[in-house]
Symmetry: C2
Subunit: 168 residues, 2 copies
DNA sequence: GTTAATGCAAACGCTTTGCAGTACA
DNA sequence: TGTACTGCAAAGCGTTTGCATTAAC
C-alpha cells in the first residue's frame, strides 16, 4: 500500500521503510513519549505501551482500526477508544501525523524524529508514494516568511495517476 | 475568515476576493456547468440552479451547511441532500474543490476557471490565507515527472501561526 | 410520458464521550 | 491511596442513501 522514495538529499537515515529503522532510534522515540507522559503527569499503562510499540514497529500509514486489529491478532485487547486517545498523545509529541487522503477516515503515520515527507496519491489504485524534496521545503519557507507566518507543519498531497496505472 | 493574496505573478485576474469577479467570468462558469449537465443528460432544476448561483456569488471557503442556511435566509428551501449532491457535480466539473483543514467537516471552495492556490492555515485564529507561487508549482511538476506520476490536482496546507496572532 | 431530482428520515462510519470500574504511581 | 486510565456502549456529527413523490425535458 505504501512505497518509500526520496528524490533529493535525504536529511536523515536512508533505510526507512518496513521494519528497518535501528533500535537506537526507536528507543529514542519511545523516550520522547515517556518524557512527555512524565511531564504531563500521565501514566504508562499496559494498553498505552502496547499501542505505542505497535505503531513504532513500522513506518507506513495506518488507520486507527488497523491498530486495534493488529493488537488483537497478537492477543492484546485494547479498545478503540484507547487507541484514539493514545494517537492523540502521539500527535501531541509529534511522533505521529494525521492525514486525510480524500476518504472519510483519517490515516495516521509514524513519523521519525525530525523527518518529514509529502505524498503522491494515486486515485486509481490508492497507492501512496512518499517523497522529500529540499527545494520544495525551501520555497515554502520563503512563502511563510513573506507572509510573516510561523509554520508548525505542513501537508502536500499531489493526486493523480501513478506510473503503474498509466501503463495499464 | 479568509484573506486573498498573491505573492507571485498572478496567472489570471487580480481582483479576486469578495464579490468582485466580472460578470463575464461568472457566466462562463455557469456555462461550463450547464454544458456538463447537458452532456450527462442531467436536468437543471430550480434547486440546483439556486445552489450553483449561491456558490458562484462568492469566492471564499464554505461548508455545505452554510449554503443551506444562506439560501434559507433568502427564502429558498433546498435540502441538505441536494446541496451535497450538487457539490458533487460541481467538483466533477472542477468548479468547486473540497478541502479538509483538520476539523471534522469538509470545506468547499469556488475555484475560478483554471485558477489554483494553496493555503496557510492559522491554528490559533482559524484564518485561512490563500497564496499562489509559481516556483512551488514548478518544483511539484518536476517531482511528478521524476516519478512518472500524472498529476490531476494537489493541495498544500501550511499550518502555523499568522502574523496577527504572533503579535498578540 | 419518461427519466431524473427532490426531500425526508433513516442509515452510515468514523470518532468522541460519560461513566463506573480498574490500575498505575 | 489518589489520580488517571480503561472499556463499554451510547452519542455525535457530517455525510450518504432508499424510497415515494415531484418536476424537468
Amino acid at each position: 500500500m505504501t512505497q518509500q522514495n526520496r528524490n533529493s538529499p535525504a536529511p536523515a537515515s536512508a533505510e526507512r521503510g518496513g521494519h528497518a529503522e535501528g533500535p537506537r532510534k526507536a528507543a529514542d522515540e519511545k523516550q520522547v513519549f515517556l518524557d512527555y507522559l512524565a511531564r504531563q503527569n500521565l501514566k504508562l499503562t499496559r494498553q498505552r505501551e502496547a499501542v505505542v510499540n505497535e505503531i513504532f514497529r513500522d513506518s507506513g500509514h495506518f488507520e486507527a482500526e488497523e491498530i486495534v486489529q493488529r493488537l488483537r491478532n497478537n492477543r492484546v485487547r485494547v479498545s478503540r477508544a484507547t487507541v484514539y486517545r493514545t494517537l492523540e498523545l502521539l500527535k501531541e509529541c509529534q511522533l505521529v501525523e494525521q492525514h486525510n487522503f480524500g476518504t472519510a477516515q483519517s490515516y495516521y503515520e509514524h513519523v521519525h524524529l525530525g523527518e518529514h515527507h509529502d505524498h503522491l496519491i494515486c486515485t486509481q489504485c490508492g497507492n501512496v508514494i512518499e517523497f522529500y524534496n529540499q527545494r520544495l521545503e525551501d520555497v515554502q519557507q520563503e512563502i511563510c516568511s513573506n507572509f510573516g507566518f510561523e509554520e508548525t507543519h505542513h501537508s502536500l498531497r499531489i493526486f493523480g495517476v501513478c506510473s503503474k496505472c498509466r501503463q495499464s
